[in-house]
Structures are given as structure tokens and as C-alpha cells.
């Protein structure tokens, strides 16, 4: 048989990637193929680290810093910290990761791995490869049974710091969603510190659905907080609450200023997301609030309000 | 003047024919070579004169084309025979014809077959010891006497031959053909007599085994003679062509085997052991009692020697051509026996005429050609096995 005919026969009923449809009668016998975890170990080799460092300083940071006006605060808290640590941040934009990586001190920036949703970032090969190259991302299962067998523990054991977004997803409207337990579990079980980070303005600069920042160099703040160290015997949930509070306090600093934010935290006036309720980053509890629910448009409205850098008092009548 | 095919001396043509047919391709073209290269020509020549008393002119009716004729024409007959021929001569020795002169006991116009051997009686000489004992085929005076040299009618320049309109024959050569025997069967009398002679050359024990190598005219008629005249048990025939298989079965062959499979098959039926030498064909330890080589080829003889059991007999019926490895002859202490023409003081011929009448030989002389189409005839004869023919003959009446 000619090679052409042979090839045609072989291709019969297969798609362009050579996958065949499953005969109806064989469907009950199909085993779900072992979900192959995209290998990322190569992205943590010294060569890859060096390449990423070049990419970050030569491409990622200059481009990002040119498109927006970043304000970095509190990075000095990291001075005395020794890795590995877990960075947790609120998450509302694709800008968040470049901003954090670009603003981290070099010794952390080269030793941090970013948890990325495996169902999105590691879905197709090309995206997985790019994400791993630029951000040293590793796949995090958001759903399903394999969530518990995450790579995170191994990475921490190998001395890598992690950047995790405990909300589990980018925010729809710039507000913060309740934190999931994963990051807290990791800190508590491994006994490593957690560095809270709050990002303000990234939603306004580049919300969901955009893939390039808004024109006009919008202002975005990245604020680092003091590392939180899990105490002996501390409950995972309690630690998670501490984490959420810390993040929210940093977010509130944008509006209230450092001291007022500290005070609000001390008075326990900061709102933290709970149940299925999102809260505005940096929101302070309003005793006179009339409705439980805030209308969607108001959330987006509030989130997209440009940051001016002036301490303004919003929602504080 | 008569029309005749004449073989003349031409060393150049002889060598050319021999050279051509000994190549692989040429051997397939032997019919073409016999017709075009061989020193044979169709001529009008003087009819042969009666050499003396006791002779008659004979008008052939049918004359067969024999394997030995073809060997001669393709240059494969041995030069050994050359002193016993006298050129130019007219070939053809398987003759059925009609006498043209009155002879004692054989009236003019009798239908006769001719024993071609030109022995003492024919040559008008005192009988040599063989002729005296009735074994004319062994005659020592084959080059002397009143006619020129020639072992047979058909190699002698003075007698003429069957491939012509007329020849002369001595009364002692003639055998009157019974009325009811058709010409097509009568023309087989000469080769059949030879076959009968060959099986009488060796003692064949009851229930012994025999192999006939080759299933052309000689092979088939040898098979017939074996079956009819001896107590032989199984007869295996090695036949190349399909139609030969049916004919051999009809004549009483136990099994008919393709040449390629012969050694293996015979090994099995004789429960012998087969061995494969580093060079050359397989051979048997153990094997058959008597082998009749009826191809006239070297490979046929080689096969025969490899098939015979120790102390067995190989009879050479075909006119040999080419050399063979005689080691089996020595090692297995074989008897190698030649069988030339007929003997027994004419008894072979008498039996031949009888058998020719009774045996299932219909269709053996399948095709006849007039002399004028001699090239076609020779071509057909050279390829007869493949073309499903046993014997090709010239029809001289046409």
C-alpha cells in the first residue's frame, strides 16, 4: 500500500491531533486518561531562574512600569525575613503578579513560585510554558480530588517561597472574595511566615476582560505588611482570619492612612470577606449600613475609582 | 529426385548450435537453433540407390522426430559418434512406410516399420559375434561392408533416412505392421522396441522399485515396457509437465513427481535418508532399485545416480550428453547400464508392435508436419513437453 493511502487510512476518523472518537460501545470502557500534570521542574533550574531574572528586569518590569504608575510600600518589612515564606495577596487583575514580582527584592523575586490555576494557565501547552517561564508558576488544582496533592508542599520543602492568591480566582468586580484555606494550612503545617500584600487600583488599571492596562498610567499600589508567623497550636481558620485582616488593613491604608488603618484594625472595624460576601478592599464596617447586599454596579464603581494618592475618606459618613 | 532434409558437415554451424544451446537462454531456444543454426537443409536430391539383393525402396508414411535427432541438431551429440556416420545423410529412424519392391515374404506395398540398426546382415558381411547371437545393436561392423558408415538408418549416407520421400532398407530391417495397427501407433514401434530392450537389459526383481527419470516418449514407453513385461512393483515417474502426469498414470505409474520434489518424495516412499551436500543436489542413502534415465541430459543422469540405492542399477536409455559426477557410482557400487536400440533378434520389435496395438497410446503422435514445414516441426518437437505433445512426426505423404 502506498504511504499516502496508508496515511489516509490511519487518519480516518481522527482529528488533527490524531485523537480518535471513541466507538459508542467502547464508551463504558474508557478510562479517564491520567491527567498529566504539566512538568514545571525545569522552570526552577538555575538556568531558568537566570533567564527569568533577565526577562523580569529587561521586559516584564519595564513594560509594566511604563504602562502604570506603581507605588510600592512596605517592602522594607521583608528585610529581616528568611525564606521560605508565603506571600498572600488580594487578586483582581493579571497585573497583580507582575507587580508583585517586579517589586519584590531580588533575593525573593528569584526564589518565589507562583500558584496558578491549572485549569486555566496549564490547560494548553503554550500557555503553560509561557506562564512557567515568566512567573515560575506551578499548577494549583482549584477543583477535584487532586487539590490536596499540590506541589506547594514540595516547593516549600525545597526552599521556594510561594505567591498565592487565597481568593482562588481573580475578582469579578475588584472586591475581595473570602479566602480559601490552602495558604493558611500551608503556613500552619509548615510553620512558615506569611507575608500579606494588598494591591489597590489594579482592577481599575486592568480589570477582567482587558489584556492591556488602561491608558493614562493609572496609579496602582502594592503594599507589603509585616510577616505573620503562625503561633504554636494556632487554628488554621484563625490564622486565615488574621491573614485576611492583615490584607484588608493594608488595603485600607490607601484610604485611611497608616495609623487610621492600624486603629481600625485594632477596633476590629475592618470588614473581612466571609461566607459568600465579598468586601471592598480596605472597607471599614459601617454601623448604619442599610442593606446587606451592595449592588453590583456600586462595587465596580467603587473599584474603578482612580487612586489619587490623597487620603480620602470614602464610605465614611 | 526426392525431397529430403539433409544433414551436412559444417563444423561452424555445429559449434554455433552447441554454443548457443548450452547457455541458459539458448537452451530455451533449442527449437529455433535446430531449425536455423543446425547444418540441416531441405533439398531435392537423388533418391538412394538399392545397394543390392535383399533391399527394397521404402516410401515413409510417418517418421518421428527423436530426442537424439534434436541432440544432433543442437550440437549435443557426442563427437564420439562421428566416425560412425557418413555425411551428408538424411536423419529419421522412427519410420513407418510402404515397401516399393518385392521381397521374399514381404510383398511390394507392404506396410512396414524399420529396425534402423545397420548390422552385419544389412552390410552383407559375415555376422560378427553379436549379430551371430542376435544382438544386432551391438554389431562391431557398423562402419564396414557394402554401405558407408552409419550406426542406423538416418545416419548413413547411402540408405537415406526417414525425413525424406524415399529411402532404402534391407529385408532384415523390416517388420510388417499388422493391418489393424494405425500408422500413428506403428511409428512408435521403434522407440517402444528400444524401451523394451532397455528393461530387458537388467534383471528386475519382483516387487522391486523403479524410477523413470523423464516422461517424454522414451520415459513413457519405458514405463509401459516395465509395467507390461516385468514383475516390478512400484514405478515412480519424474515428469516435468502436467500432461505427462496423466499419461504416466494411465500407463501404470505408482506416482508421478515433479523434478524439483523428486529426491524428497522418493526418500519418503523408500524410507531412505536424505542428505544435502555442500555443493550439488540432494541425494539418498537408501533409495530405489532401478533407475531408468530417459532424458538424455546430464542432469537427468546426475539425479538418477543420486536416487539409486547402494548396489542398484542405473539404465541409460537416452543418448547421453555432458558429464556428471560419478562419485555415487563408485561409493554406492551402482551398476551403470547402457541400452541402445533394440535387440533379441527382433523379438523386441515384435513385442513392440504387439504392445503398440494394445497399450493406451492414443494421441501420442499428436501433431504431424509436412517436410516443407520442417522448421515448425523441429520447433514443436523441441518444446513438445511444454506444448502437451509426446511425439512430433513428419507426414511424408503430405
Amino acid at each position: 500500500m502506498s504511504i499516502r493511502r496508508e496515511f489516509r487510512l490511519l487518519r480516518h476518523g481522527r482529528d488533527w491531533r490524531g485523537r480518535s472518537t471513541v466507538p459508542r460501545s467502547a464508551e463504558p470502557h474508557v478510562v479517564e486518561p491520567e491527567e498529566k500534570v504539566f512538568p514545571t521542574a525545569w522552570a526552577r533550574t538555575p538556568a531558568a531562574v537566570a533567564a527569568r531574572s533577565v526577562l523580569r528586569k529587561g521586559l516584564l518590569k519595564p513594560v509594566a512600569w511604563r504602562q502604570i504608575t506603581p507605588v510600592i510600600e512596605g517592602a522594607e518589612y521583608l528585610d529581616g525575613v528568611r525564606g521560605p515564606v508565603v506571600f498572600v495577596a488580594n487578586h483582581s487583575s493579571h497585573l497583580d503578579t507582575p507587580l508583585i514580582l517586579g517589586s519584590l527584592p531580588e533575593r525573593f523575586a528569584n526564589r518565589v513560585a507562583v500558584g496558578a490555576a491549572s485549569d486555566y494557565f496549564f490547560d494548553v501547552r503554550w500557555r503553560a510554558t509561557l506562564t512557567a517561564v515568566f512567573f515560575n508558576a506551578f499548577p494549583v488544582e482549584r477543583y477535584g480530588s487532586k487539590r490536596l496533592r499540590s506541589l506547594a508542599v514540595d516547593l516549600v520543602d525545597d526552599g521556594w517561597s510561594l505567591l498565592l492568591y487565597p481568593e482562588g480566582t481573580r475578582s469579578e468586580d475588584g472586591w475581595m472574595n473570602p479566602f480559601k484555606l490552602g495558604a493558611a494550612v500551608l503556613c500552619v503545617t509548615k510553620g512558615i511566615p506569611c507575608v500579606p500584600i494588598a494591591i489597590r487600583g489594579s482592577y481599575a488599571a486592568m480589570p477582567r476582560g482587558r489584556n492591556w492596562p488602561q491608558p493614562g498610567k493609572p496609579r496602582v499600589t502594592v503594599r507589603y505588611g509585616r510577616p505573620l508567623v503562625p503561633e504554636e497550636g494556632e487554628d488554621v481558620r484563625a490564622f486565615r482570619t488574621r491573614m485576611a485582616k492583615a490584607v484588608n488593613m493594608l488595603a485600607a491604608e490607601e484610604d485611611l492612612g497608616w495609623y487610621d488603618a492600624l486603629r481600625a484594625a485594632a477596633d476590629d472595624r475592618l470588614e473581612i470577606p466571609g461566607g459568600s460576601q465579598p468586601t471592598r478592599p480596605g472597607a471599614v464596617r459601617d454601623e448604619n449600613a442599610k442593606t446587606e447586599q451592595t449592588a453590583d454596579w456600586r462595587r465596580v464603581w467603587a473599584s474603578t475609582e482612580p487612586l489619587t494618592g490623597r487620603r480620602r475618606r470614602v464610605w465614611r459618613d | 529426385m526426392i525431397l529430403a532434409l539433409e544433414y551436412h558437415r559444417s563444423p561452424g554451424r555445429f559449434v554455433a548450435a552447441r554454443g548457443l544451446t548450452s547457455t541458459r537462454v539458448g537452451s530455451r531456444l533449442s527449437g529455433m537453433v535446430a531449425g536455423n543454426v543446425a547444418p540441416l537443409r531441405l533439398v531435392n536430391r537423388q533418391a538412394p540407390e538399392l545397394p543390392g539383393e535383399g533391399w527394397t525402396r521404402v516410401t515413409p508414411i510417418l517418421t518421428g522426430i527423436c530426442g537424439s535427432d534434436l541432440s544432433l541438431l543442437t550440437g549435443h551429440s557426442s563427437p564420439y559418434l562421428s566416425p560412425m556416420t557418413s555425411m551428408p545423410f538424411v536423419p529419421g529412424h522412427e519410420i513407418v512406410g510402404r515397401t516399393m519392391d518385392e521381397l521374399p515374404g514381404i510383398p511390394k506395398g507392404s506396410r512396414v516399420v524399420i529396425d534402423p540398426v545397420l548390422s552385419c546382415a544389412v552390410r552383407g558381411m559375415e555376422p560378427c559375434r553379436w549379430c551371430a547371437s542376435g544382438q544386432q545393436s551391438r554389431c562391431d561392423h557398423i562402419t564396414a561392408g557394402r554401405i558407408s558408415a552409419g550406426i542406423q538408418t538416418g545416419t548413413c549416407g547411402d540408405t537415406g533416412g526417414g525425413w525424406s520421400r524415399q529411402l532404402v532398407a534391407h529385408a532384415s530391417q523390416l517388420h510388417v505392421v499388422p493391418e489393424d495397427l494405425p500408422d500413428e501407433r506403428a511409428v512408435l514401434a521403434e522407440p517402444l522396441a528400444c524401451a523394451i530392450h532397455s528393461v530387458r537389459r537388467v534383471p528386475i526383481g519382483p516387487n522391486s522399485t523403479a524410477v523413470v527419470v523423464g516422461a517424454g516418449t522414451v520415459g513413457l514407453l519405458t514405463l509401459l515396457a516395465l509395467r507390461e513385461l516385468t514383475q516390478v512393483g512400484a514405478i515412480y515417474v519424474i515428469a516435468k509437465h502436467g500432461h505427462q502426469k496423466d499419461k504416466a498414470k494411465a500407463l501404470g505409474a505408482t506416482a508421478v513427481i515433479e523434478p524439483r520434489k523428486a529426491v524428497r518424495a522418493l526418500r519418503r516412499v523408500t524410507t531412505a535418508r536424505m542428505h544435502t551436500p555442500e555443493m550439488g543436489a540432494d541425494f539418498l542413502l537408501g533409495g530405489v532399485d532401478t533407475v531408468f534415465e530417459c532424458t538424455g541430459g546430464a542432469s537427468g543422469l546426475d539425479t538418477s545416480l543420486r536416487l539409486a540405492r547402494a548396489g542398484g542399477t542405473v539404465v541409460m536409455s537416452g543418448m547421453p550428453s555432458g558429464g556428471v559426477d560419478l562419485t555415487p557410482l563408485w561409493f554406492r557400487e551402482l551398476e551403470l547400464v547402457g541400452a541402445y536400440c533394440s535387440g533379441s533378434d527382433g523379438a523386441d520389435f515384435a513385442d513392440a508392435l504387439r504392445l503398440a496395438g494394445s497399450a493406451p497410446l492414443d494421441g501420442y503422435v499428436g501433431t504431424t508436419y509436412p517436410l516443407a514445414r520442417w522448421r515448425e516441426a523441429l520447433n514443436h518437437a523441441a518444446d513438445s513437453g511444454r506444448l502437451g505433445t509426446v511425439k512430433v512426426a513428419f507426414d511424408l505423404a503430405r
Binding site: 491531533r17 480518535s20 471513541v22 466507538p23 | 524428497r264 518424495a265 524410507t271
Partner: protein, 525 residues
Amino acid sequence: MSRPGFVLDVDERTPPLIMHQGEGFRLERLPLGSKVIYPPDSLPGIRDVDAAIRHALLHPHGTEPLPELLTPGMRLTIVFDDLSLPLPPMQTPDVRQRIIEQVLEMAAAKGVDDVELIAANALHRRMTPAELRRTVGDRVFHAFFPEHLKNHDAEDRDNLLHMGKTRHGEDVEINRRAAESDLIVYVNITLTAMSGGAKSVSVGLASYRSLKHHHNVHTLRHSNSFNDPPNSAMHHSYERMKGLIDEHVKVFTIETTLNNDTFPSSMGFLNKREWEWNVRDQASYLAVKRANELMPKKTRRRIWQSTAAPYGVTGVHAGLQSEVHPLTLNNVHRQQLTEVNGQSDIAIWGLPYICPYNVNSVMNPILVMSLGLGYFFNLYKNKPIVRQGGVAIFYHPVPNEFHPVHHPSYIDFFEEILTESTDPVLLETKYEEQFATDPWYIQLYRNSYAYHGVHPFYMWYWGAHAMQHLGDVIFVGGNRKTTQRMGFRAASTLGDALEMAKDTVGSSPSIAYHHAPPLALADVR
């Protein structure tokens, strides 16, 4: 957990399916609605085979642990399955080697001096020294070959012992050395449900005199199938003989079973279901097929013959044969049994390059017949895959080739006997004795590497049941002359074959394709 076997219904979504065809393979599109019988997925192999062997030897079924059976000064004979198992041969180390080494270690520890190793080749050809060495391993080979590591010689009258007759009057005659031993340790590989069990000693070490009682047309026509021992007259005979043997000599049996990892990873696609082929499988299919076709015939044969299967061992059981064999059969069924609903009018088989009798040799037409109508046709329980009077379609070129050293009697059988008749009964009565006693065949069997003279007859009987059952046999891509000689027909394509089958089974036949190897044993309900 590997998936069980199942029957595929060919529908529009079914890709072309792989089909073995002698020393090659092809894809074939089967008519819609055809059934395809797939074996269960390959079972996971035992991880530590040596430990499993040791455990089996020390905790045998129905007898004392092996070390307790070994005493100084005893006569110990270790008998092992010959070259015909497994198919294709196993990647070294062979499981037989692993077992024999452990048995010998125990024997050495117990001070046993008189040890003899015998390949149970019955009337098969002798194994060459290289083949023996590959089977038993270097250490054993060097220690025992050639004086104490031998092939069984079924024609060595001095070394055969007639033990008597069974109640059915069957002669039991086996290797004398084994019969007169204090203990026989039989090392087996059970590849199909046919082998192992009572067959091991009563067939592997027997002579023609004994074998003819079950290797005959009558018995085989009543073995439906011979892969279903309870329904196999042949196995009943084995059992009777084994009963007699057990009265004379103690046999410690070690049986092993293998999984379905039949092809090495370079040809991994042959082990997979076609719709699960990934790009790599497809590329290697194309590459292997093309290379295979371009290769000179001899090279191709050498490469096929040198492939070794990366089998995993799925079970090692030792002890009393009658207690061990059910466990072994269970393992075989676990790996091979597929339930099939109902018989079909037409069954299709793709015959591979190897059968039990052409390892390192040539697959001649008789062996093709025995592989198709013998082995593959009989890969069923209960009922044949194809109905009475149905049609079998095989894929094989059936070339007219014979190995002159290994199969001399096959050549004569094919050239002379089959030209007279293909009727097994007639051949049996008229010619079997002649071939069986032919001194040349016997000499070649004993001194050269030839199958016994009677062996081609056994091959022909192997197909006797199928020949009686089937209405027609068609070889796709088969040599016309050779198929015709055997009484079959040749077609150039599946379409032609189905067209030819119409005469026998009508215009809309049901079709079953028995997807093997890897082997599937069809349990037809």
C-alpha cells in the same frame, strides 16, 4: 485496576482497526455493526517475582514445602516447558530461569547431587544450546550443560519407560529418567488455558506411542474447545495419564502465568485499543509498518523473530498439580477471558508471525493452518465464535516457505500428502504411521533440529474440529496455490472475502473480529 475485556460494536466513530498479517500488520475498516472481541487490559505484573517464587515454593498447595521434599542422595529431575512457550519469547531473565535457580539453590542447600534438567519438548524439535541457555540462564547452563541439561528424546528407546495403560487403554510412556526420579519438579508457563496442568508431564515427556492416544482426529474433534479443559476430550485423556503417572512418581508443579504485554514498547500500539492511540502510536505505526515493508525478507524475519515480550508475571503457584492448576487457570481467565454474546456467521482473525512451532524458524502453510483453525479458532469457551457452517476469514500471506532443517516432514506432508487429500481422518489412517516411523525423520528429530515426522499430522488434526465446523475458510492476502492446496480459498481484500463468503452465509452476515494478539479467550454465551 485494569479494564476487563469487552466486545466493541463497530460504528461510525470507530477508527480502522489493527490486523496482524504474518510478518506485518495493517489497518482494516470493518463493516459497520461488526463485533470486535478485545481482551482485558494487561494486568499489572508481580513486582518482586523472586519473592513470589520463593513464597510459592515454601508455601505450596497440597504438599510439603519444597525444601522438605529434598533429601541428600535423591534423584531430582527438573523439567521445564520448551521453546513453544511463551509466544513471543519472554525478555530475559525468563521466569523459568528464576524458578529453576531458586529450586537449585534449595536443592544445593539440602545436598542433592543427582540433578537432571530436561526440556519437555515431546515431539517438538530439540532446543539449540543457545535457546536452552536463554531459557535457563547462564548460571544453570554452565553448571549443567550438556551432560545434565538435555532435551527430552521421545525416540530414545532406552530412556523411555512404559508405565502401563490407563483404564481407557491408553499407553503411558514417558522419559525414563524423569519417571524413575524421586521427585520431578515441573516448571511451567501457562500462556493459554490449554497448556499446563496434567498436560505438562504426560505430554511434554511422552513418546509417540503415548501421544497418539490423544493427538488424533477423534479426540480433537471432541475437544470443544481444547482451551476449555472440562469440555476437552484431549484434556480428559491427559488427566487419566497424569493419574497413572502420579502412582509412579511424585511431581512438584510450579505454574506461572503472564500478562498481556505481548509487544515491546517500540510496537506499543499493538497492545493498545486503536481509538486510544496517541500521535506517537500513530507515528510509530506508520514508521514500523513502512520499515517492515521495505526490509528485505530475511532481515524482516530475523527482526520479528528476535522480538521479545516484556511480559509481567501475574501469578506463581506451586505444589500438587491438581490443586495448582485451577489457580493458574483462574489467572489466565482473569487476563484473557472476554464474554461474547452469541455466535457470528463470519469470524475474522489476523494471524501473527509466530506460532508455537516456528520460534526462530519459518511459519509454513501447515503452521498457518494450525495457528488459524487450531489455536485461534479454539480460543473459546462454550461455543465457537463462529456458528456451525459459518465462514472463517484469516489474514495471512501463507507463503510457500518451509524451514528445511526444522520442518522436513512438513515439506513432504505439504507436497505429497495434501495433494492427495485434506481429510484428516483419511490422512491419519493412511499416512500417519508411515511418517511417525520414518527412520529419516526420527534421525533428524534426534540428531538435528527437526520436528518429529508425525508432527505435521498433529498440526492438521489441530484444525480438524474447525474444518468440520466451518462452511468455508478464506485467507485475505493468501497465496492462492498454498491456500488451495490446503482446501481453502484466497482473497485479495476483505471486501472480496466477504463477497466470497456470501455463498455460504448469505448477504447480511454477522461478523466478529477476534482482536488478537494480545490473546483473548472468548466466552461465547
